[in-house]
Symmetry: C2
Subunit: 340 residues, 2 copies
């Protein structure tokens, strides 16, 4: 397995180091090549994602990204020029984001509210297409547009993968999250596709939920969700709240998948570069390690993936509440557990 690694900025390199430790434990033959991308490189050279680097990234089996960004980079630069560019260039149409409240983890909700869901967020179109503009900029007559582009092609492939995954889960339940009553054009397309594809997966039950109502359910009854499929922007919002109710983005993993396997998929913790704690050795690498599990699954190594997840579950269940674990200590523990 040839892996491209983008450690990035802030705590990125720290959590990536532990993730690789765990990966090497379960796949000793994995090879890594590091790529220097992110805020630091941009500050130094003005470069975001040189074409030559993109070409090299394509030659790998998968990509692991830590986190990029620091507060001195203007908003939008790294997002458009690096993170979203990677997703779009590498056709990462399924943004896979599981959310699970592990035993031993204190969530923000009162009572014991089980969370065990997986979101398939469309990753290459919708409001993220970058389509829109400004007219009469910087005048009192300015108009700004943002165009959400939704294609049958793009919606069908993520919906189909969502049904595939739902069919393999015990509950076999799929929820479309959208705002079909207001965004009626895109809503019609999404609804039609879900209805069509559902005909091929008769054992999967299907539900629909408006994005606003979904926010309420995530804090009052998260167990109603099993597999969730949604558009790029609603997915961004839904997955942050889903992460919050399952213990925080510090534990949230994600995979940016090209399900067709034409391009390497990319795995990254959902959290950012957390400049405030960078260098203190206290960043929690668990989200990165769980992203490694997604990577192993995608690379056809489900047994290794389950071992990594089991290691995380054991570690979270046995952590002393209130005790601070150092980044490297957690990595060492998880690597030992996963490879034992």
């Amino acid at each position: 397995m040839k892996l491209a690694v983008i450690p990035g900025d802030g705590i990125g390199p720290e959590v990536v180091r532990e993730g690789l430790k765990v990966l090497q434990g379960v796949v000793p033959t994995a090879e890594f090549t590091e790529y220097d991308l992110g805020a630091a490189r941009w500050h130094r050279t003005g470069e975001l994602l040189p074409d030559s680097v993109l070409r090299e990234l394509r030659e790998h089996d998968a990509i692991l990204l830590g986190a990029v960004g620091d507060p001195t980079v203007p908003s939008g630069i790294l997002e458009r020029g690096l993170l979203l560019r990677l997703r779009f260039e590498l056709d990462h149409h399924v943004n896979l984001r599981p959310a699970r409240l592990y035993p031993g983890v204190a969530g923000p909700l009162a009572g014991d509210k089980a969370v065990d869901l997986v979101v398939l967020r469309e990753g290459t179109e919708g409001p993220y297409a970058g389509n829109g503009g400004l007219l009469r900029k910087d005048t009192p007559h300015e108009i700004a547009t943002e165009v959400s582009l939704n294609t049958y092609f793009g919606v069908e492939r993520v919906v189909r993968d969502a049904f595939e995954r739902a069919a393999r889960r015990p509950r076999k339940h799929l929820t479309l999250v959208h705002k079909t009553n207001v965004l009626t054009h895109a809503g019609q397309l999404w609804s039609r596709v879900v209805e069509e594809v559902s005909m091929e997966y008769l054992d999967v039950t299907v539900a629909y939920c408006h994005i606003d109502a979904a926010m309420i359910y995530l804090v009052t009854d998260p167990a109603r969700f099993d597999v969730v499929v949604t558009d790029n922007l609603f997915g961004d919002i839904f997955t942050d709240l889903a992460a919050a109710v399952s213990g925080g983005i510090g534990l949230a993993a994600s995979g940016n998948l090209d399900v067709s396997r034409t391009n390497p998929s990319m795995f990254e913790p959902v959290h950012g570069s957390a400049p405030d704690i960078a260098g203190t050795g206290t960043a929690d690498p668990t989200a990165t390690v769980l992203s490694i599990a997604l990577l192993l699954d995608h690379q056809g190594l489900p047994e290794a993936a389950r071992r990594v997840e089991a290691a995380v579950a054991f570690d979270l269940a046995t952590r002393q509440s209130g005790s601070v674990s150092r980044t490297t200590a957690i990595g060492d523990r998880l690597a030992a557990l996963a490879s034992s």
Copy 2:
């Protein structure tokens, strides 16, 4: 005060009756005219909002709406044809939605997390403009677009009102919620307007928060928000979660304001018509009563508004936990408290 009343469907008429009871207690001279709009009328006549009715509505000082809808009306019909049409025709550019966790109310969050914020959601543009379309409908080459339209005119007036309100609150803090790092065109406009208007309100502190991060903060640290200003769609999502963490949409009030007072403003509970409990006499009219308080404020009767709010606060703090209060009993109590 001449009030147009749209009781609507399901529990709408039940909660409106109690709201009017409270209003009559504090403003005995208020006059009401009922308008029959909603799912029932649509089923009977196919009509949503006849022009003649719209003309009559305009002749009133304010509008009170209960809730419209039932599960047999296809999604989008009442939304586009009635609810959103009212907001757009009557230029309800400030959708005002306070969220407050009252003492005595059990929220879904662990621990005691104070919530006391007010959202100003833009109400007449953004992704709700209805702009978009379908190409190659019902084919495998279908494309659906949704265009978010944002004007300086539209953004400035809601941002200005948000600063006005922030300046009158003890904390004097305003947060712009958006997704400026991805929706860069609309994001630039919103950011510029907030920066510009902030120059006129030097005692108001200003923060920015991405909509996805805002979801996390609402469940981990809702006290960071005081006044929130945001676009139509983000506001829809933010306010449902804000309502959830302050005890549920059963308590959430809203005002659809034309701040210029050219058209009557409209007040409504955020909850829907709840057909499952309609007719059982158990709907909680509190959200409607709190919407009456917003109405009184808007009509220049702040003392009456404070009395209604104080009545609600007292009632919520003294309700027996677990005991079911009947709709009319709550209304009677609140009317007596507010007018005493």
